[in-house]
Structure formats: structure tokens, C-alpha cells
Amino acid sequence: MKRYRFLFGLFIFFHLAACNSLSHITVTDTYPPLYPDYSDVTLPVNIAPLNFMVTGATAVKAELLLEDESKTFRGRNKISIPMRTWRRLLQNSALLQKDIVVSVTAKIQGTWYQYLPFHWHVTTDSLDPYVSYRLIEPGYEVWNTIRLAERNVENFRERIIADNRQTDKRCMNCHTYGNQDPSLSFFHLRGPGGGTVLNREGKLRKLDLHTEELLSPAIYGNFHPSGRFAVFSTNLIVPGFHTKKGERLEVYDTASDLIVADFEENVIIPFPSDFPNEFRTFPVFSADGSYIYYCNAPQTTLPDSIFDVRYDLLRIRFNEQERTWGTKADTVFSASSHGVSVCHPKTSPDGRYLLFTAASYGTFPIWHQETDLWLLDLQEEETVIIDRLPGVNSNRSDTYHSWSSNSRWFVFASKRDDGMYGKPYFCYLDKEGKAHKPFVLPQKNPQKYRHTLVSYNLPELSTGKLPFGSSDIERLYRKTAAEKVYLKKTSHE
């Protein structure tokens, strides 16, 4: 009797399932409403599975087709791809040099829809396996909890490398690598007991990169390729709030300048004093370390003239042996003549490109909706060739970028989803210099981005795992006094 009941139950189940089956499918000529938008993107062969959701769906089926091989995955409203299957699929795709074709069928409000298939192009140009970022709630001028995290992009493992709850809630600035090398990085820990945390050659140090003569402690910075030096800006930063709707925070400098720090001799090499009094910020070394690129604007009264402040891209020589700055600065890109302001320039490790943020004014693009990434080809000495990266940028802030060690990838923070919370996007730049459609850092559960209330700030790529963790930072904060630095008197060539 029990057996018959079971068979009858099975019959009912399959009957209902058949009523609800894929036989009544509405074919649409649109792409599926994916979240995150992973349609037609280029992927590195070593990326973690691109799990995705279909917005509004109560049942989803995805078929991944590579030549003759087909894999089908099902889910309630999301598709989760097993790691091993995914790896094999990516490797085969790269080997065969064929795209993976993804067909999605989803049940939305009781109706099954078959959407246009999209492609995943897989390249053998790998992405650096680690990305670090700062997790912070967008609180503008005050903060509460800040964490620095390191994520393995080949899987879903995330590790906290610094947590300000272990350092008396001190402010922590973003983590910056040198040469995408995990054994060369720094970040600033502000306030009493803080300093610049330097991770170099397997040793953690804490430095007080401030002297009486400087405007402020070191702020925006970048390593020299040798790892011995780093260039920083010193800034008097003032936050302000827009009154008009749609605009949010504005941060501006009432004064700013540059310094180079020598980590071996604990010496600060200031910017030459015989240059005109101007705003100088966001310095970075060229790939070979012989130049420093920075953003420069004439001084003006702020905040009254904030809407007219536009920073140009300049460069000045740096002599590593003599530890001196050059005597003149060249304008690399006159952004002001294009009606934009340059922020966060970053040179590619191969020296070919310089990626920067273009905002309509000012020096704090993260809350400027119009902020875009622009790519400058440094190979062309005579003419300025700018790629405005239309396929990469969105109508919200796209900034805080950094390069992969092979110069084929860059990562940046984009607020394209909701305008509020930045997320790390990866973009492939092929050998011809063509930028492909970016994709967001995959998460095991793609819904994570919908529920998070933190921004992923300043994502930076690295070739390996960092040699420290949050306990090391806590120890450094509590038990180590910050090393003092001294100002070098002459800084000219």
C-alpha cells in the first residue's frame, strides 16, 4: 500500500513539474536581467566562478556551452557554478580559443523566458591572484569601522589584514602595493599610536612620515620600483557638502605639496621650494622610476572657486642615486584645457600607459557621478592620445584604479550599481590597447553586493598573499613606536 502511495506521489510530482516545465517558453530578444551584469565580458583564465542571479526570477536554468561540451546549472534565483567544473571550462576555453556561450532561461512571475545567449571570452592573460581593498561604510567625513581586506580572486576566500576595531577605531587609509608585490606595501594608520605601516622585505615597520616643515603627514602615495623610496602628497584637506540634489561630498585641498620618503635612511626629500605655489597631489612614479607624475593646479580661494579648480597632469624627474627632484616639470596632459581635472594617475608596469580619473573639477572624484577613467598612451611622445574608455565607464563614479603586474588588467572601484557603494571591477586591456567590458569581482553568493552596506575602496592587485594579518597590525600599533624621519635640506638636482 505504501509503495502505491509513493508511486502515486511521484506521478503527481512529475505531473505538476510537467505543467510547470520548460515546454511553454517565451523566447525574448533581450539579454537576461543578470545581477551582476556578466554578459559578454572577457575573463582571465584564473578567475573564480561568475555566480550570478536573474533579477525577479523564481527558477533559473543556465547552459554553458563550449564547442561540443555543455554544462547545465539550475537554481532558484541564482546560478552557482562548482569550482572544479568552472576551472576546467575556463582552461578548455582558453586552450581552444573559443568563447563560452551562456544561455539563460528564467521563470519570472510564472512565465519561463528564454533570453538571448551571451558570451564569456576567456584569455590566457591572467589576473594577479590577489586584490586588496578597504571596506568602509560611506560616512564621508567621519568613520566608525574600517577594515582592510585581501581577497583571492581565484576563489572566494577573503582575509582581513587590518581592522580598526583592534586599533582603537583609528582611521585607516587604503592599502597600496609597490610593483604589485605582496612583500612591498604600505598604508597609513592615523591618530595617536598610528603611522605609516610599511611592509617591506618581510618586515613590518611603522613610520611617522611627518615633520614640522610639512603641511601634513604623508597622504596619497606610490612606491618607487626599487622599493626604497615612495612619493607622497601632503595635503590640508577640507570636507564640504554640496547643497544641490544629486551632489554629495566635496573634499578639497587648501594647500598641497609632494615629498619623497627614503625608507632606508628615514629621510624626507621635499619638493623643490623654488617652484610656484601651486596645488600638487596624487604623485606616482613612472614604471622605470625616473619620473614622478602628479596632478597640479594653480592655487585659488576655496571653496568659492572649487568649480573652477582643474588639475593638469605633470611630470618631473627623480634621480634615484642623488635622491633629488628635477628642476622643471613638464605638462603631460593639459586637462584644464579639456574642461576636466585629473586625479589618481597610475602608470602601467610595462610603462606603456597611464590610467587616470577625469572629473569635471576638483580633487575628490569618488562622489562625482561624472567621474570616468581615461587612458593615456605614453608611447606617443609627441601627441597626446587619450582613450576615454566608453565601454568601461558608467554614468556613476569610476575611479580608484590599479594595474595588474602584466599590464593586461586593471581593477577599479565603480559605483555604477547604486551610486552609493563602490565595488571592484576588472577590465581587460588587450595587446592592441583595446579595453573590454569590465566585470565585478565575483562572489560566492552574488546577493552579497545587494545586502552589503560597505564600499570596496581602492582595490589594488597583487601577485601573492600578504605576509601579515590583522593581529600583526594590532601588535605594531600597540607595541611599536613610530620611527621618526628627517627632512633633507637640498632636494634639487
Binding site: 561604510e137 560611506p138 560616512g139 564621508y140 567625513e141 567621519v142 568613520w143 566608525n144 569601522t145 582581513i160 581592522d163 576595531r165 583592534q166 570636507p239 564640504g240 557638502f241 554640496h242 547643497t243 544641490k244 540634489k245 544629486g246 551632489e247 554629495r248 561630498l249 566635496e250 571653496p303 572649487i306 556613476r396 550599481d417 547604486d418 551610486g419 552609493m420 557603494y421 553568493n445 546577493q447 552579497k448 545587494r450 545586502h451 552596506l453 594579518g469 590583522s470 593581529s471 594590532e474
Partner: protein, 526 residues
């Protein structure tokens, strides 16, 4: 045969249940209502996984789940009463197993619950902490049923597990375990000491895994210092806040009149209600005014989290959506769990009003995952009422950059964009008055106050008289301001009385204590 319970055994439970329910339902409901507003429990798998990276994940998860039901006063009162009753039953059982008489055990168990009852008087004491204690009690009771060898050796695997599930519940468990073992005369003392050391050192050993400070490692899931005190002043402020949340401004004024609190947060809600009922110009000094801090609650690292949570209300009602958004975001960040259903709703409203729909969707999406607010987004078109339409019209169209505490510029920008924004004008005039800035008040009044008004509000008339008197204005100019004759005569009387009092406030207090003149001469900013 079942044993009959005597009244002496049951009386403590009856007292506990009735006392606790009546207290939290009738006398202390607003703390619990506010606690509910400061949680955002999402019914989703990934939200569940955010708990498991820290100790006490189970009690925190259940605690937050249950705190949702504090949405009505009976919910909080019932859940707390249930938790206390469960704790009483468990404590009583434990004490009986320790050999106490049943009736004595009942009363001692009641005494042991009292501190827990008092802890719930604090705004920052979470339900999860009580649940941690309950789980620890339950675990000890389960252990007392074991044979001695298991009782001893199962402690080792149970302690870490209990720490992971309940946090500080481990210490209650260890203490009760040791006491019971001592009474039973189980094992050797050095072994008990060793287990005590293990229990005490375990959080310290694990804190790097959970990324906690030593203090956090020992107190999780508690996130604020313990306070065994019922704060009835705060309860009154929360009552005013709750009425303001409902848009019941007359009740706010009624409560302000009833409570007569000398407190900047109470003044903040009173002034907000005065502004919403257009009574600010007449009644400002009918209530305690601590200075400009009674108009805006400053948001800074020194501010309390409660002040930060409240601070967005005034900006929202005035139409300064950028500052409202800033304050609401900070309220969320500085709330205990960094998420709040009240502030999520406010952020959704702000972004709907500013027509920033992708950002609004973010917050509506979060509300969609809650138990009690998932329908709120669907009902929102009904919520976008006339009030919201008016608010949308107040949003500034003039672009400028101001510091977050530069209230004068913020209010002036609101008026430049919409000169008919009456609450903004009241706030600007009163901001100057409370700052005792007579030229600022006069300038604002002359620039923005509508000339065709029927009657100059009493407080503004009093301030105008001070300004006109200081500049030695002619009677013709005074007439232009249409100041009521009664106010003019009262001012003359006050001036005489002031001179007679020789700088003393006491003789003037009764007659003039609720005038701008008295405030101007005698009240110091808090």
C-alpha cells in the same frame, strides 16, 4: 504521582511574569521600540553567514530575529518576559539540583534574574546577551544529568563550542559547572582549576581568529558597557522620538509640556514639533532652550550615537536632503550593529525624493528582505503623500559647498531656493535668536520674513524690539514692523524691571522667564 507546587514556589514566577510584562508594556516600552528600529534583520542566507565569523553567532542571530518583534510594545514585553521566565525556570532547576529546597530555589532564582531585568533598561543591552545566559544555563543543566566522568571530560569540547555559540555564556557555564562539581565533590581541585584557566584563556587565544580586542573577546555579544539602571529620562525622549516618527507633532508638544525636560534632545524634538505646527515664532521660549544645540544635534566624533541617529530628522523636515542623507548614513554607521531599519527607510525616502532611484532601490531591496517592512516598498506610492510632495519642492536648487555644521549657510540656501520654506525661515530666525545674534536675526527677518503677515509672532516681536531699541529706531520705523502694542508695553516694563533687578535673574523669572529678553540676558548655552 505528580507533586503539587505550592504558592511559595510559584509566587516568584508570577511576580516576575506580571512585573516584567507590565513594566515593559506600560512603563518602559520605548526603549524596546527603539531597539527594533536599530536592527535590520534580513531573511536571507548570506545574511545568516555574516554571523558565523564571530563568537556568540547563534545567540546573536536568534536575538536579532526576535528583536524584530519589538515592533509593537507587546512584542518586546512578551519576549523579555518569556526570556526571564525561562531563565528563572533554568536557574531554579539548577539550584534544586545543587540541593536547595524548592521554595528557596524559587526565590533565589528570582533574585538572580533581577540584574538581567535591570540590564534591559539600557538601550544598548541586546537580547542576545540574555540568550547567551539561557544557553549556558541549559548546557549546565544538561551536564548535571551526566555521570561524573562525562561531566568532567565533556567540559573540554563543550566550552569552545559554547563560546562559539554564546560568547560570554561560557563564563556563566564554567562558573555553574564548577559550583555543581564542587557540591558533588567531583574530581580533583587542580583539574577544576585547569578547566577554569582553559575557559578564561580561550577567548584570548581565539581573539585573533575572530578579530576582536581582548575586551570584546570576553564580552561578546555585548558591545557596550553594562548598565543596571532604568533611564526614565531617556524613555521620555524616546517617547517623543516615537511620536515624531509617527508624525504626531501635537503629541510631541503634549509630551514636551508634560515632561518639561531640560535636555537638548528633548528640545530638539520640541522645536521640530513647533516648526511643523508653525508655532515656533510664538512658543519657542515656552519650553527649555539649551541654545542652538536644541535646533540641530551636532554630528561629530564626540556626539553620542543616539544624537547621530536623531540628527537627520530636522534636515529631512526642512528639505535639506543632502544633509539628511549624510546624517542618516552616519546614524546607520554609528548604530550598534551598523544597520537600522529606521535609517534604511529614511535613506530610501531621501533617495526617492531626490529621484535617485538606483540608490533608493538599494535600500528598498534591503527592506524587501525583512519580515515587517517588505510591504513598505509596495505601499510607498501611498506614502509619497502631499507631505512628500511639499518636501520635494523644498530641496535646494542653489549650488554651494558648506561645512556640515554650517547651519546658517544650509538654511540660507534653502531659503534662496524656496523663499516660502516657512520651517527653514523659522529655524534660521530661531538659530540666530538662540545664538543671541540680534543683527543676524534682524538681517534674516528683513530679507525673508513675508511683509504681508497678519501678525508678527510673539518671540520675533520681542527680538525685533531688542534690535530696534539697540539701534535707537524711531517710532515710525517701529510702527512699520507692526509689533503688537501689548508686546511693546511689556518690553518697556521688562526694561524697567531689569534695571531694578540689578542683573539678578530671580526677580524676573516668574514674569519674564519665558521671553526672549530673559533668555538673552540670563541663559547660558549648554
Amino acid at each position: 504521582m505528580t507533586r503539587k507546587f505550592t504558592i511559595r514556589e510559584w509566587l516568584p514566577a508570577v511576580l516576575l511574569v506580571t512585573g516584567s510584562f507590565l513594566f515593559f508594556f506600560f512603563f518602559y516600552p520605548y526603549h524596546n521600540l527603539f531597539k527594533e528600529q536599530m536592527t535590520l534583520f534580513l531573511h536571507s542566507g548570506d545574511y545568516f553567514f555574516t554571523f558565523i565569523g564571530k563568537p556568540a553567532w547563534l545567540t546573536r542571530y536568534i536575538g536579532e530575529f526576535l528583536t524584530q518583534f519589538y515592533i509593537v510594545p507587546a512584542g518586546g514585553a512578551l519576549i523579555l518576559t518569556g526570556a526571564f521566565l525561562a531563565a528563572w525556570i533554568l536557574f531554579r532547576s539548577y539550584l534544586i539540583r545543587c540541593g536547595l529546597q524548592r521554595s528557596i530555589a524559587s526565590w533565589i532564582a528570582l533574585l538572580l534574574i533581577i540584574p538581567e531585568f535591570l540590564f534591559h533598561g539600557s538601550l544598548y543591552y541586546p537580547l542576545s546577551s540574555t540568550l547567551s545566559g539561557l544557553m549556558a544555563l541549559g548546557a549546565v543543566l544538561a551536564f548535571t544529568g551526566l555521570r561524573p566522568s562525562l561531566y568532567k571530560w565533556l567540559f573540554l569540547p563543550a566550552a569552545p563550542l559554547l563560546y562559539y555559540l554564546t560568547g560570554h555564556g561560557l563564563f556563566l557555564f564554567t562558573f555553574l559547572w564548577l559550583v555543581y562539581g564542587f557540591i558533588r565533590k567531583d574530581g580533583k581541585r587542580y583539574y577544576a582549576l585547569l578547566l577554569l584557566l582553559i575557559s578564561l584563556s580561550f577567548p584570548l587565544l581565539m581573539r585573533s581568529v575572530f578579530q576582536l580586542t581582548p575586551k570584546q573577546a570576553y564580552t561578546y555579544p555585548l558591545k557596550a558597557p553594562l548598565s543596571a539602571r532604568m533611564d526614565f529620562t531617556l524613555e521620555k525622549i524616546l517617547a517623543m522620538d516615537y511620536a515624531a516618527q509617527q508624525g504626531n507633532w501635537t503629541r510631541v508638544l503634549f509630551l514636551a509640556q508634560k515632561y518639561q525636560l531640560n535636555n537638548s534632545m528633548a528640545a530638539y524634538y520640541t522645536n521640530l514639533a513647533l516648526s511643523q505646527t508653525r508655532l515656533m515664532g510664538d512658543w519657542l521660549f515656552q519650553f527649555h532652550q539649551p541654545g542652538p544645540g536644541g535646533l540641530f544635534l551636532p554630528v561629530s566624533p564626540e556626539s553620542t550615537s543616539l544624537a547621530i541617529v536623531f540628527s537627520n530628522e530636522v534636515f529631512f523636515s526642512l528639505g535639506d536632503m543632502n544633509m539628511a542623507q549624510h546624517s542618516a548614513m552616519l546614524g546607520m554607521i554609528f548604530s550598534q550593529d551598523h544597520r537600522s531599519v529606521r535609517l534604511t527607510k529614511r535613506l530610501a525616502e531621501i533617495h526617492l525624493l531626490t529621484e535617485d532611484y538606483p540608490a533608493a532601490d538599494k535600500y528598498l531591496g534591503l527592506l524587501d528582505k525583512t519580515l515587517f517592512y517588505r510591504r513598505w516598498p509596495n505601499e510607498l506610492p501611498e506614502h509619497i503623500t502631499l507631505e512628500h510632495t511639499i518636501l520635494r519642492e523644498k530641496i535646494p536648487s542653489v549650488e554651494a559647498i558648506r561645512h556640515s555644521a554650517d547651519y546658517t549657510t544650509s538654511l540660507e540656501i534653502l531659503l534662496q531656493s524656496h523663499p516660502d520654506n516657512a520651517p527653514a525661515l523659522d529655524y534660521l530666525l530661531c538659530f540666530h535668536l538662540l545664538n543671541k545674534d540680534i543683527p543676524g536675526f534682524r538681517r534674516t527677518y528683513d530679507t525673508w520674513y513675508p511683509a504681508a503677515k497678519n501678525k508678527v509672532p510673539e518671540v520675533y516681536a520681542q527680538a525685533l524690539l531688542v534690535s530696534l531699541y539697540r539701534e535707537g529706531a524711531s517710532s515710525k520705523i517701529i510702527e512699520q514692523y507692526d509689533i503688537p502694542a501689548a508686546t511693546v508695553s511689556r518690553f518697556i516694563e521688562y526694561t524697567k524691571a531689569f534695571e531694578k533687578a540689578g542683573g539678578m535673574s530671580a526677580p524676573l523669572q516668574e514674569e519674564y522667564g519665558k521671553t526672549f529678553w530673559f533668555y538673552y540676558h540670563f541663559i547660558l548655552f549648554e
